[in-house]
């Protein structure tokens, strides 16, 4: 659906996006992650035709960005991170306005408005003025607006920023719902837990470059490669830590009140042997488990966690 090749955007000597290549297949829910200044919004704006790329190619639904602007625009529904509203315009009129801007007929707009407002749970707000809606409602309305012309690709830039937890959950459910309907969705966000829950694939950007991209399972597997084990101890901690430090191949990463986090780069059998030796030496264990990979840890690992 979205094919980006060697995309570069320069602002004078500053390179905001550096030779980014990416392929998002149809029906995918792609999460775009990266620290502030990584180049996510710039990439999104180029894809939406709001910014001219310095170099590279972008194809949407097989159509080049430069060719057939009107048709290409029909393929995309864009939800910016922040959007304003018009005073004195009702929800119904807001939808009518944007529908007309896509050249849709009044009857189609009316019918689709009803369906979409139901989808985003705003049917009862149809006659309300847009500026009286809450931020969460406005964001959902913006999604409905972006879907009005039935785009194949929905692009959302930080849709959850500034939303309260309840509104975030609603937005997440809405996006999951749209994904199940077969829409291709690209979402950029800082809320990694949210993305890991709903995205089918993910791309991590840092300093204008894509540092990792792929299916969510594959990305998570990258993390599972390391053997970090949490060992829960109820006996005295000091001899237990000393014992672990004496074992070959074991690195003690952190010590908490009743838990030691160790790195042990061996297979499952060796881990079992180590645990057995700990019990034999009189250390009382209440449990142990391998650390699960999280998107946060991968993000920190790949980006250094800092802003640009």
């Amino acid at each position: 659906m979205l094919y980006i090749e060697d995309l570069t955007k320069n602002y004078g000597t500053f390179t905001a996006v550096n030779q980014l290549s990416l392929h998002i297949p149809e029906g995918d829910l792609f999460g775009f992650v990266g620290p502030n200044g990584a180049g996510k919004t710039t990439t999104i704006r180029i894809v939406c035709g709001l910014l001219r790329a310095s170099a590279g190619k972008v194809r949407i639904g097989g159509m080049a960005l430069e060719a057939g602007k009107r048709n290409r625009k029909r393929l995309i529904g864009y939800v910016p991170d922040f959007f304003g509203v018009y005073d004195n315009l009702k929800v119904r009129e807001y939808m009518d306005f944007y529908g007309s801007m896509y050249g849709m007929g009044h009857r189609d707009i009316v019918k689709l408005t009803d369906d979409l407002l139901e989808l985003v749970n705003l049917t009862d707000k149809k006659e309300f003025y847009v500026d009286t809606l809450s931020r969460g409602m406005k964001q959902r309305l913006c999604v409905a607006r972006a879907l009005l012309h039935n785009p194949k690709l929905l692009i959302l830039d930080e849709p959850s920023s500034g939303l309260d937890p309840g509104a975030r959950v609603e937005m997440k459910e809405l996006l999951k719902n749209l994904h199940s309907m077969g829409k291709t969705i690209v979402i950029s966000s800082h809320i990694l837990s949210e993305l890991s829950e709903m995205c089918s694939s993910i791309g991590i950007m840092n300093r204008g470059q894509l540092v990792a991209a792929g299916r969510m399972e594959d990305i998570m597997q990258m993390l599972a490669g390391g053997n970090r084990i949490h060992v829960c101890i109820s006996s005295d901690m000091e001899p237990a830590v000393r014992f672990l430090k004496e074992q070959a191949g074991v690195m003690v990463d952190s010590v908490r009140e009743n838990e030691v986090l160790i790195s042990y780069d061996r297979g499952d059998e060796e881990i079992c042997v180590l645990i057995g030796r700990m019990i034999q030496s009189g250390i009382v264990l209440t449990g142990f488990h391998r650390e699960e990979g999280s998107l946060e840890s991968l993000f920190m690992q790949l980006t250094g966690g800092g802003d640009r």
């Binding site: 602002y11 905001a16 502030n36 990584a38 919004t41 709001l50 910014l51 001219r52 018009y86």
Partner: protein, 301 residues
Amino acid sequence: MKLKLNPIVKKDMQVAARSMRISWGLLAYEAVLALAFMLAILVIQEDVSYSSYRNIYNYLIYLFPVLAVTQVCIVALIVPIITASSISGEKERQTFDIMLTTCMSPFSIVLGKMVSAMIRILFFVAASMPVMALAFVVGGLSWSLLFYFLLTIVLLSIFSGSVGIFCSAFCKRSITAVILSFVIYFVIFALPFLPVLFAAILGWDSFGESLLFLLFDPVVFFEEFFMHIISETSILGGVSHAFTKDQVGFITYHLAQGKLWMFVSAACILLLSFGFMLLAAWKINPLHASSGRKRKTKGAE
């Protein structure tokens, strides 16, 4: 073929109709006109009372130019303010990016903003018709003149609207766009006089075709229009008669005769307006060459 209303015009009309600003604006517009009307009547009455044999009705014809010039001044002031905030207002509201991602072309957006501003101003002008009609009834002027006057107001709206839109496309803030509009106004009003001024200062034997620059000047256009209405004369016509064919160029000499100058000038002003609109459309197109260099996204994120 079904004619479709530009969505921006429809939306702007909906929003404006619900706003109190339009009602207050209308009140202020009518108030200024009424004030001008009363002042003109007062001056005419005082002038006539000096001499007992003067007939007041001979002087009431001057009501029209007073009211018309007042209207022209108000329109020339209001339209740039409305249009200068049209695109920059969308930028300030952060609705502009969404607008650009729709199927509307940049020129349709500019045109929509332009037409909605013109409709608003014509609404004001229409509301002023009873006062204007009074000037015609007692002033003894023809109704066709009222129609021509309306056409000139439309022309002025297009011109000042295009200047406002042009500035709005180039500025991020509405206030900057409004100030820039008036600066450009001044430049357009004054610039065509420069060649004439140079010719006069340097003492050239012939003005050549330098007077043709005045075709683009709305001030000269309105001066010619009102001169024709009041006295069926023309300053430019006078100039061409005052000079020999050698002192002005061939085109200037023949163009300045009769009403031809007004029509050509109207076409030139429309052409200039169209140029401003095209430039505005070029500027707001995010994919044109220079916008990519200058426009920055928030922190280039």
